[in-house]
């Protein structure tokens, strides 16, 4: 029994998502092979060979795998699927694009975004935007899975897998990538952001708000929010306001800086996955909802934090 992990990489290097996927694969029990399909992707393949737990790296190196379009990639996976009980890809744009195509070509179901492995055929995955967790069991001979990377540890280093070339398939010529525009500037919008850095009256004035919070937000790729007191005091415009009478947000991470945690503020952010509070008052109510509370002077803590995550 062997397991195939479709590597996420950019030819030059392996993406971290692959490591989490390898960890998920390791929970299934079986020899783990990693498929690196790319163009001039030897460096990525070499990295994959060093991942702990990987038994074999299979490399398909051809120009038409350069951008890992789903059509060519899926055909390659299917051509090499024999002998595998499981085929895994991370739940990334590439993984989500290719895995269902592979599954359909194999005439098996695909299981998306697994967060836990119960057994070789039983998995846990979120449904209804994470408001419920379903445990599903597959009756198919081959299980094609995508893996929610945040739910699994990253596999360590120290492996020494054999690297083996795989014959490239034909270029199907169905899709070609014309260009990519990778954004790295503007902050995400408050409602859609995965991370929000939010500031309150503790910041003292508008200048401090920007001087302290912007570097932290930039380092985290976060959106900026504010308490009403901060908005009222003119630190930021009112569309920054989070709370009962402002925006309701539920990011993965909400960092409340100098915010006391009034009930009206909490109403707008209490569904955030992880809440961090930075406040000098140990009795501030915000600490009652915070997963991680740091009692301290924000003027010291915030720059330090920005540096640590930058």
């Amino acid at each position: 029994m062997a397991i195939l992990v479709i590597a996420e990489h950019d030819n030059a290097s392996l993406k971290a998502a692959t490591l989490n996927t390898v960890s998920a694969a390791a929970k299934l029990g079986g020899e783990i092979h990693v498929l690196v399909a790319g163009a001039n992707c030897a460096a990525a393949a070499a990295e994959a060979a060093k991942v702990a737990g990987v038994a074999k790296v299979r490399v398909a190196d051809a120009a038409h795998y350069e951008s890992q379009t789903a059509e060519n990639l899926a055909a390659l996976v299917v051509a090499n699927a024999a002998g595998y009980t499981h085929i895994l890809a991370p739940s990334t744009a590439i993984g989500k694009n290719v895995a269902p195509r592979v599954a359909a070509l194999l005439d098996v179901a695909q299981i998306s975004d697994i967060v836990a492995v119960e057994s070789a055929d039983t998995f846990v995955r979120p449904i209804y935007a994470g408001n419920a967790m379903a445990t599903v069991k597959s009756a198919d001979a081959v299980k094609v899975l995508t893996v929610r990377t945040t739910a699994f540890e990253a596999a360590g280093q120290g492996g020494a897998a054999a690297v083996e070339a795989v014959a490239a398939g034909a270029d199907l010529g169905l899709t070609s990538v014309k260009g990519r525009e990778l954004t790295k500037s503007a902050r995400p919008e408050l409602g859609a952001a995965k991370i929000i850095v939010s500031g309150g009256r503790g910041l003292g004035n508008s200048e401090n708000y920007h001087k302290l919070l912007e570097p932290l937000a930039d380092a985290l790729g976060a959106a900026l929010g504010a308490s009403r007191a901060a908005v009222d005091a003119g630190y930021v415009p009112n569309d920054y306001q989070v709370g009962q009478t402002g925006k309701i947000v539920a990011p993965q991470l909400y960092i409340a800086v100098g915010i006391s945690g009034a009930i009206q503020h909490l109403a707008g952010m209490k569904d955030s996955k992880v809440i961090v509070a930075i406040n000098k008052d140990p009795e501030a109510p915000i600490f009652q909802v915070a997963d991680y509370g740091l009692v301290g002077d924000l003027f010291e803590v915030v720059p330090e934090l920005a540096k640590a995550v930058g």
């Binding site: 951008s67 379009t69 789903a70 059509e71 990334t92 744009a93 590439i94 694009n97 269902p100 195509r101 592979v102 359909a104 179901a109 695909q110 299981i111 998306s112 975004d113 979120p126 449904i127 209804y128 935007a129 994470g130 408001n131 419920a132 967790m133 379903a134 445990t135 599903v136 069991k137 597959s138 009756a139 945040t150 199907l172 010529g173 169905l174 899709t175 070609s176 014309k178 260009g179 990519r180 525009e181 990778l182 991370i195 991470l253 996955k273 992880v274 961090v276 600490f287 009652q288 915070a290 997963d291 991680y292 509370g293 740091l294 301290g296 803590v301 330090e304 934090l305 640590a308 995550v309």
Partner: protein, 249 residues
């Protein structure tokens, strides 16, 4: 050019679903149902293509219970020309739906199928890709811009960290992301007209498709609750927790 748009009937996005006490699923009895929002975007895109003179006909398809007719009518109210209901009371998983759609594509011969990228109930994000696989067509998923040319589609896709522009041969499957467009409000005259547009009903058996589920749901549970918070001593510990315990940065 004909465009086929699959539309799914799902629990309305405003409804916060509750897990049933017996853990067999979520309680959707008497809950408001609506068209999957991504599918609404797909219908809107198809109708815009028709209004721009690029497409000549927009066909909305829904697979599921009889009430999916409402979803098809909603698509017609936005501007789809006719509808096909593949009626089945069985649980239809993405592979089965893809097979049903394939059978319809074989019959209807659309140039483009525009699907929502995922349904907000099972969050699978599979059907469009599977259909493309079964048809042997290219796929342009997570589209934020679609241009149809002669035999090719130019699609801007939302990928991790940015955008990617691809050219695909037609026929193809496109799946929609949120930023592709903002669906219009159906107008009252169009809601009324939708009533009169043709809607055919077929059964999976008529299409020769076996829709038996491949996955069994053993249990549905509430997501884990927030664990009691902790105080961290300093920035270093905070960063460590965020990286390694919460895994949010």
């Amino acid at each position: 050019m004909k465009i086929l748009v699959p539309v799914k009937r799902v629990v309305d996005y405003n409804v916060k679903v509750r897990v049933k006490a017996d853990g067999t699923g979520v309680d959707i009895a008497n809950v408001k149902m609506s068209m999957n929002p991504f599918d609404e975007i797909a219908v809107e895109e198809a109708v815009r293509l028709k209004e721009a003179g690029v497409a000549s006909e927009v066909v909305a398809v829904s697979c599921g219970v009889a009430a999916c007719q409402e979803t098809i009518r909603a698509a017609m109210a936005i501007g789809a020309d006719r509808g096909i209901l593949v009626e089945s009371d069985a649980e239809l998983q993405p592979l089965a739906v893809a097979k049903l759609l394939k059978a319809l594509c074989d019959k209807e011969q659309p140039t483009v199928v525009i699907c929502g990228k995922q349904a907000i109930d099972d969050d699978s994000n599979q059907t469009g890709q599977m259909l493309a696989a079964l048809m042997g067509w290219p796929q342009a998923t997570f589209a934020s811009k679609v241009q149809l040319g002669d035999g090719v589609a130019t699609v801007t896709r939302e990928i991790d960290g940015g955008l990617e522009t691809v050219e695909t041969k037609l026929p193809a499957v496109v799946t929609t992301d949120l930023r592709l467009n903002e669906p219009r409000y159906a107008t009252l005259p169009n809601i009324m007209k939708a009533k009169k547009k043709p809607l055919d009903t077929v059964k999976p058996a008529d299409l020769g498709v076996d829709v038996a589920p491949r996955l069994a749901t053993l249990k549905v549970a509430e997501p884990p609750k927030r664990s009691a918070g902790v105080r961290v001593a300093d920035v270093a510990q905070l960063v460590d927790k965020l990286k390694n315990e919460a895994k949010v940065i």
